[in-house]
Amino acid sequence: MKELSLNILDIVQNSVKAGATRIEICLEETDERFSFWVRDNGCGMSEELLSRVKDPFATTRTTRNVGLGIPLLTLAAEQTGGGVSIESSTGEDHGTLIRADFNKRHIDFTPLGDIVSTVTTVIQGNPDTDVIFSHSAGEGRVELSTPELREVLDGVSLSEPEVLAWIEENLRGQYDQMRMF
């Protein structure tokens, strides 16, 4: 992927496919490290699938018999000296937590890119899903929670173009302030 924000979008699509009604996307960075995790309350993975999932020949999809998303993310993280870990459960508290760690200073680190576009894309496609996004870097913090916005919207859909434009500008404004730190 050209930008890490595209890997993040792709990982979130797995949560969508797993039927999640709540997806948390959390990014944390320091001068040296970049980490993100995605946590969902979707159907989860069996232990057997989980053990195969980093292998490109594991997938439950029928149109193509290789899953690419998690292997691509793993490659992107490992080539910087970082890695990916996954926890998942199909039990009562079903859901999945996937975490990726990167060494920002490594020459093979892929820049984050347009994360705002990733967040708006997720909300556009899943207006009824609770999306909780946060990004902290040093003292700076950007955050957005669709359950909170929904309270203001009072039935108006998050996928309305004007609402999406508001979300995009709000996030870009928060990033402008974060960069001042």
Binding site: L9, R64, V152, L153, N170
Partner: protein, 122 residues
């Protein structure tokens, strides 16, 4: 920065329009957003469709949705357009630049942009 008060103003405006909007939405634009699509550039294509639909005031009759893998990875980004009675039209190797033409000629003008369809690509 955009404030919650501005969001509330958008809400009020939308609520005033709600009555008009019901029962519409007969054109669907579906963008493939699996790994192969995302890697090939589906995100800017999706965003361009969302923007063009809004810009041309089509939100009441046209919906833009996302789907998983459409199964033709070598042609990604793939976009399927479903209009009222016509059958499905599949656009392949889409870019954000091609979106305006699809909106103007096909969605608004009713004429398929055949040079972007799968038929022209094989």
């Amino acid at each position: 920065m955009k404030t919650l008060a501005e969001l509330a103003a958008i809400r009020d405006k939308m609520k005033a329009q709600v009555a008009l909007r019901e029962g519409n939405g007969n054109t669907r634009i579906v963008v493939g957003m699996a790994t192969c699509g995302i890697a090939a550039g589906a995100r800017p294509v999706l965003n361009a469709f969302v923007d063009e639909v809004a810009k041309n005031g089509l939100s009441e009759t046209v919906t833009v949705t996302q789907t998983g893998c459409i199964g033709i990875c070598q042609y990604e980004p793939v976009v399927e357009v479903y209009t009222g009675s016509d059958e499905k039209v599949t656009y392949v190797k889409m870019t954000a630049e091609k979106v305006e033409k699809v909106i103007k000629e096909h969605i608004m003008g009713g004429k398929v942009v055949s040079e972007y369809t799968i038929g022209a690509s094989v």
